[in-house]
Amino acid sequence: MTRSFLGMPATAPPGVGHLRGSEPFPVAARRALSDAQLRRNLGHATATIRSRSAAVVGEVPDWPQLRAAGRAIKTDTMARLPELLEQLEAAVAAAGGTVHWAADAVEANRIVTDLVRAAGADRVMKVKSMVTQEIGLNEALLSAGIEPVETDLAELIVQLGDDRPSHILVPAIHRNRAEIREIFLRAMPGVDPALTDEPAALAAAARRHLRQTFLSTRVAVSGANFAVAETGTLAVVESEGNGRMCLTLPETLITVMGIEKVIPTWRDLEVFLQLLPRASTGERMNPYTSMWTGVTPGDGPQTFHLVLLDNGRSAVLADPVGRQALHCIRCSACLNVCPVYERTGGHAYGSVYPGPIGAVLSPQLTGVEDNASLPYASSLCGACYDACPVMIDIPSILVHLRGRVPHPKAEAAAMAAAAYTMDHPALYAAAQRAARLGRLAGRRGRGLPPPLSGWTASRDLPEPPPQTFRQWWAER
């Protein structure tokens, strides 16, 4: 707990949750790059979803206007975040829900654990939720003797495989059908040993496996895609029906949401419900979207708790450039178009938030020093910005964060020296000549010393030209 920074924006505490990787991105990426199966799975999956999303985005004549409206609504939301959260709290309470505030992961985990205990349950079923992955809720529940059951197919694959999620939308994107079949055969109790690797057969196995859990579990935990301040309405967007099961069958529903998920008005949903499915799964509309406002007598859970989580978001909000990362609606379009993500997969990013948005969100949630390699995990190609349905300028945030990370001393000295030289044309011209001579002297050798050896490991340097342009110009 960071109570010592009373009232000041605070980053997410270490030691809990999954926002920090154990090794720098280039090291983790190197391992992923040599995994041929992973490369193939990712290449196939991202290509599939890119083309599907492009097709349904292309159908919408006012896509640019919707994107601009999405960005404006989010910008407005962030500017008024405190009052909107108070409005949301009042609306949820008026509709029969109870609102809790959690300053960080530790507090959120404790609140949820206490609520589950109070309901007398030793098992909870979960709708896929990034935020509960972020705070490590499953680990916290397990250590309190409560069994969390992931009900989303991909989360189930990850949980049964004792694995980590690698994608925001499709946490098991790194697994292919053959691997999923193996995991089910190994870890799913009572599975048919004749299970094939047909996706339909695998989905049917998950249906049978979870059916009794749905019918008998009394507490569910969900995240939220949107929370409407004006009405107190929560919305969960999903495909399989596991979300509907969790949101309607249990007696008690606990929803954990990051405070940035609030939107001002009911009408604002008309923008996001058009943007999200097309950018995310590449569908015109996802199969199921559930919306609920507090509790409804005789229909669904009669006890509803909403946990509002900070966990570093206030620190992100404090950066006027970086706060755009809070606009994210977790569609994962930026992952699917990212040439880096496509090749390294999500685990290399360390955090539960991978890909381009993860590279700008994770370092801000934790403080840049704890995820210092992530802002560099991009070639700044800009494909993410073009794909983002709410127009988050991810490349600019990456560059901005690079200016905030602690730099290696030798690199900083070299950069300062280079800037000084380039600010003095005579020195600059001399350096050009020296570089040329150095290259000529060593022209038989192809290697450069570290750290530049990364370049010459796989690429030749160009032959030094006979003269620089400015020499040619002077002699003209």
């Binding site: 280039p26 990426a29 190197r30 790059l33 040439p339 880096v340 090749r343 390294t344 802002p375 560099y376 995990a377 991009s378 070639s379 700044l380 190609c381 800009g382 494909a383 910005y385 073009d386 600019s396 560059v399 964060l401 690079r402 200016g403 905030r404 990370v405 730099h407 690199e411 900083a412 950069m415 300062a416 280079a418 800037a419 000084y420 380039m422 600010d423 044309p425 600059y428 050009q432 570089a435 040329r436 750290p451 530049l452 990364g454 370049w455 490991a457 796989s458 690429r459 030749d460 340097l461 160009p462 032959e463 030094p464 030209p465 006979p466 620089t468 342009f469 400015r470 040619w472 110009w473």
Partner: protein
Amino acid sequence: MRVALFVTCLADTLFPQAAMATVRLLERLGHEVVFPEGQTCCGQMHINTGYPHDALRLVRRHVRVFAPYDVVVAPSGSCVGSVRHQHATVARGAGDERLASRAEDVAARTYELSEFLVDVLGVTDVGAYYPHRVTYHPTCHSLRMLRVGDRPLRLLRAVRGLDLVELPQAEQCCGFGGTFAVKNADTSTAMLADKMRHVLATGADVCTAGDASCLMHIGGGLSRLRAGVRTVHLAEILASTEAGVAGTPDGGAVAPAPTTGGTR
């Protein structure tokens, strides 16, 4: 028209033939080219590596050097992208509003070569001759920062003798990304491998682009493979004519000498 050449540090130092070609092309089209000697580097490398404070002096220099000119042209989408989308931000970040607004002024008068030819001069046929099979890589910053669109392709289609072949998955990044290629050398190489595979699949003998940096990357990889495919800057192709005057002093574009290097 009087055009100030923004040569870029990379072209000045390592790929002067691209800059010479730009000069010859613009002069052939009847324009006066001047070279403001005080220019060095736009600071993009410093900005993108996380050193905006070091970049500030380079931004200030760039703005001071180019402020007197009505039109500034560079054979680089990436450097023009930095001038247009980053210089004012760096200045504002340092609290220098006056520099920021001067940077915006300069940026508004700065063009990438294909933009300048097509939008300002209104030409697509520049009278070039280049009898080679060529594929075009639309570099990320030209494509997405500047939105040059099909301007380079329109210019290439008008080149006599040129056999233009489409590059598969052209819009995927080549993996250069400035210091990305050094800090994340493995990932960069994986991206480069795919780019080279697509270039080779075209059967082209020349891969061209509007950025010497990306060409250095792609060309460096192709050279390591001894793939027999050269990288040539768009300006060099557009400067080539039947008279054999190419970007290089030896007229190498029409009758190329064998090369072990990357971009020629």
